[in-house]
Symmetry: C5
């Protein structure tokens, strides 16, 4: 959850690139496609990109790893990337947004994947949409875009026939679609937590609720600004998006809105989890107090009776009656019974185990 | 409450349909109507629909079950449904919305009914409003639209004389009207819960409050976007809605706003229920503590007195006086009385049973 | 608080009227007025209304009771009331709003009065503002409009000289002005509750806070939409309101805004009441715990001392010393004194009665 | 805090004035000024005002006390005050606002002063800005405008050289500037309360927090609407404010925004105070419980040991051993030591006094 | 956190300067630059500034310390600073904003630095952007602008080639960039607090959470208005900002939005910290109650048994049996065992130490 932004020292001139210490060297792969051909080249250098571009077909240049400023500047020269755009690409995380430059439209996206430990992992994907090319940049290798590549490879389809803007749409749409399985996974976690918080209201459960809330906050930070950015792509008069692609982006926009609303709903449910937690703890305290009060209220008076007949006064007539001892025991029993009856009438002797009451909860509405 | 959206794998090309495993085969029924005739055909195939359409009258094609892509694509070809529209129809749940296509207006609605177990059940109804036809799609058989069918069958009325847009209005209006009984049912539940939370503040009651809140959240998710969608139908310059029908949609819009506001009010009341719950539990803890404190404070000092006169010192003059024993008992009584007087003055001996105090609550304002 | 809306079964054709079971028959009264005359007719039939209308003067037709569809439809025919407007009049409660029709402007208001039990009672008043008539409809007899009638009767005034729109303004203004005494009554209740919640934090007090909050919610639901509706009357280009009357409606709008803001403030204060409640209960638990802890901590150790000297070991030298008993008692006193000193230093022996501390609260700021 | 608005009975004709029972008679003072002269007349009658006005210079007529309708109506006639404007002047409190009339601009302000008991006191000042006069009305004598008067008296300055609109700006600016010392006073109170709530979490402290919150609510109600009103003066095309004065009003607007934001910040801090209060009480309960638990857990088992050796069985060999008594005492000591060690390990024996921990809070960050 | 604004007494004429008692005398430094030259003069007087200005190059005049009205007025005369602008410069803190005057654009910024004690320190920097000069004013010496100066000194760069507006952008950008390290520092604090609140839920921890929240509030107050001000610089048609610089300000705007959103996220996390705190305290109370209840419930009944056999009745047959004593001890053991079994089944004997449970939290998701 914690926020670290890669950036040069404050006050550096705009365009200064701050690379990560352990940044991976860029691996560039190129997909060139027209109606007939889908040529795929992996691990190429910038010269190859330049050559491929000369062919005039639609080009998808994918850069994974941002560790070599020489390569980045070479690409920037080739595609005339504005220094500020290059900064936005390198200095992750940026807030998702879109900006129009003379040569292309920049779209900063945030991708989410299920990480190795099952927790969602977020990563920035910067997308440059030119007239006949799409550039994508990300820091770590591995992404959610394989389905798009697969569709490109699988022969003549709508994706190949359309231009770079439709390809960019397909990439953005895929990135947003990948929020759905994560949202559904969170949905399962909330449902599981609703049972758990009743059965096991410990600080450990609380820590999990907090982690869930933090994840939801980050999901929101990933999806809401993309909604605005996609909307801007649809509404603004950018020359890099054709009208027919705008129809598809509208669909993409609807997904953003739906995801955003579901995440808001989950945030409310997660807040409810905390409330439930608090009140289950209160109830448990209540139960513990009841046990203490019942035990103390029954036995302390009896102890008094025993204490009274343990006094050493010379003149205590009851002590010398043969019925004294059974009478004293009987008095004790009667007192204990009276207290039990009183507590029973107050309803304190019923079982208050939350987990137990939960089990038979379905019978009435 | 949990969110599952039917969708193809992320990254599939737009227009790919993801059908549910257990989806029912489509059952198509057609109502053809003009000023004189209301012909109703059930369980027909797409060819029949095509034939009926040729007659030129207003047509209502109702598709229940979305399990056969062949049928869906045949309908899509017949009515020129855009691939994205078809996706929105099949991939439920969509957020309620309206979208204009060249051939028709798509309106995604969400219907609510009282399910078999008394809980509200939500289902998507997709409505396509063409120049002289209305198409409705839903996943499960059974809907809330029988009153509309009934009115069509019952001879010449305003519904038959008007075109497809008025028919679509009647369908949307009926779907929204069905929120009213559910809202009133929730209103009863809240009122019942307000009594229950005072009388029985157990985790079971809490679970019910949470369920109520989740239902209200879902009601809101069903009604607010429909308000926007209906407003869009009224304001936007869509050719498929006539001006005279817009007047009626304004009424429909008012219902959405009223339902939305009532649901918001109920959400506030449900939040208040939780607060009441918490404070009733606090009060109960208080009552329990009072009992414990009173019992312990009265009997522990008396036990000390008994203990003192049970000591075995050789020289304890009181023990040998004939008035010693009654004096000790008298001392105990006096001490107990003193404590009771003290607690009485503090107001701790009054009955603090919430249910009891509730009963005589109406006397003053 | 609970929501019940009179409406026909969902899916009925628009214009179907759902009358209440126990609806009262309409009582129509007519006030006809021009610069010279103020003629008042009570309990008339629709024909009389028609006759009076023919005179061309400004007409106020007041209908109390909505139980006879024949009369309602006759009025609708006479004044060309749109079926949807008639529905809004009959199917109470509608959300306050204004709608323009060809023949008149519909204004749905919500009136508040102090009921017989002192609680506020809400009722819908539907107002139709025509070119030279005002129609008012309400379900129950008795309203807050008597001051308007009185002013009409009292000779030549601004009210008589102006047209129907000014009369409608006078009616709306009077309805909104009647919110002020209710708001002031709630203000008193909140002030009283602020004292009470300190002195008597019982579930009964809590139930009253909740009732107060529900009333405030309903006040808000009555006044906010009227603000929007009045604003619409001022801004929209409706021909039924003259410019000179708009100046007066601006005043009316200011009242709505002020009432709305005061109600919001009270809602915050009511939320604060609940917080105070919770914390007073917490403090009381605290006080109870202190008493228990002090009593137990003082007497349990003393009981141990008594117990020790009640043991029956053969060799317990202290028991046989003449100073043994007084020494034991002295030890007990010393222990009790030590505990009291300790608790005193901790500040636990100060009086913690909230009501008491409240009384001397005014001395410092 | 409680809301009382002076107003005629609901339904009175607009323009009816409701005067307070104990309203003071109006004291009128006039300041007439041009580049050379600043003539000041106090306690004059309406005729004098009329005479002064005839001179054609800039006029400031200040009316303190609204108890005489004759005087008010005479002024209204003289300056052509609209009946609704007169109502707004007399029926306090109005929400701060500005309204344009044909003859002048009405500005309803709310003034705050430090009252005699140190609490802020609010009062309405109605300002009428005409082409060459400013009228100010307030209910109680004494105001915050003396600095303005002083500046007028002090010879030729920017205030005298400019027209009535600049004079009005000076008055509004002074009224708003007087919020600053009150805000700073509240700032001190919050800071003091942050210490106090830790040291003395009693209901009395709570009552003060609530009073603070109520004051902040009222401050907000005084300043936010003035922001809108000043903005309206700047933006609207009113002829009574010159462009050069608008520049100064922009400064005034900035002050309103800053005050509003600071007040919002304080409202958040005050809400935080309540949270702190609640948690300090919780912590205290915790501390009390710890003391009880430690005392009871140590002494109750020891009492059992004493009780066991106080039993009267014939055969209890330990009783007859000479080491029996010391052994029993040793056992008790060992048990007490064990319990202390256990509680020490749990960290329960550390001092939990909040005030103490607060004192050494500054050492680490 | 507390709010003190330097300002003249309320009601002073606009333009009156209120200087701080201990205000430092102004130290003026001038940087004159064109494509070739970067001349830097420190500690100069106003005449030198005037001379430098005559050269016609881009000028950066930096004033640190606002303690001498003569110097300030001399500068105001030289650069034609409007009295209201001068007031905004001197009367700190102003809300960040931008205002257009005839001669220049005023931008009020708020700078944040890490203070000597590690806490963030805020200071106002007023920036005047003229056609060929930039003036910066601040109260205390030392700022975050050294990187900008460094870049100016380091020979020909984009900064020198561009005009005064680009220089102003570089200053604003640097000020905003300096929020990033502070935000990251707060991020670390929140992370540390999340562990601490579990391990040590004392009032001291609470006081730190409150301080953190106050800092976040102040960060927000510093950054949100700057977002609006930068946006105004971009959108408004001010002649002092060229179009090419607007592109860079867009980048600056993005940083403001990102910082604002991260701060909002942290405010939510800080609110969550408080909730965690409350519930950890509740859990601790629970644990304490459990210990008390277990100890009391086990030992009080045993004490009763001992008390019973310590009674002095003549006829108590068990006392005289040789197995009496072991039987009594056995009974006690059995009772204790029964209680332990009961509590074990209830799960009360498990270790409830929050810190402990936290340590093994990572195993499952």
């Amino acid at each position: 959850m914690m926020f670290r932004k890669r950036r040069p020292p404050a006050g550096s001139r705009p365009g200064t690139l701050a690379l990560a210490q352990n940044a991976l060297p860029p691996r560039i792969s190129v997909i060139r496609l027209n109606r007939d051909v889908c040529e795929e080249l992996v691990d190429v250098d910038v010269e190859t990109v330049e050559r491929e571009r000369a062919a005039g077909d639609t080009l998808w240049v994918d850069v994974q790893g941002l560790g070599d400023p020489t390569v980045l500047h070479a690409l920037a020269d080739l595609f005339q990337i504005h220094p500020l755009a290059l900064e936005d690409i390198v200095h992750t995380p940026q807030r998702p947004k879109t900006e129009r430059y003379d040569e292309h439209q920049l779209y900063i996206s945030r991708m989410v994947r299920s990480g190795e430990d099952g927790h969602p992992v977020f990563e920035q994907v910067a997308i440059l949409i030119g007239s006949n090319y799409v550039l994508t940049f990300q820091e770590q290798p591995g992404d959610v875009l394989d389905p798009v590549r697969q569709r490109l490879r699988q022969g003549v389809g709508v994706l190949r026939q359309n231009g770079a803007d439709y390809l960019a749409y397909a990439i953005i749409d895929t990135i947003i679609d990948y929020y759905y399985p994560i949202v559904e996974q969170l949905s399962d976690q909330i449902e599981a937590m609703e049972v758990r918080v009743m059965a096991d209201p410990t600080p450990r459960t609380l820590a999990r609720i907090n982690r869930l809330k933090a994840t939801l906050l980050e999901m929101r930070r990933g999806i809401w600004p993309q909604r605005d950015a996609v909307n801007q792509l649809i509404r603004d008069d950018t020359p890099f998006i054709s009208d027919s692609t705008r129809v598809y982006l509208r669909d993409c926009y609807d997904h953003c809105v739906q995801l955003g609303e579901v995440i808001e709903t989950y945030r409310e449910l997660a807040a409810g989890l905390f409330n439930t937690y608090l009140s289950v703890v209160s109830n448990r305290t209540n139960e513990i107090m009841k046990v203490l009060t019942i035990m103390a209220s029954i036995f302390i008076p009896l102890t008094l009776v025993a204490g009274v007949y343990g006094m050493n006064f010379d003149v205590m007539p009851e002590l010398h009656r043969p019925w004294g001892y059974p009478a004293a025991l009987g008095l004790m029993l009667a007192m204990a019974g009276g207290m039990l009856w009183y507590f029973g009438r107050k309803g304190w002797l019923r079982n208050g185990d939350p987990a137990a009451t939960l089990r038979d909860d379905g019978d009435d509405a």
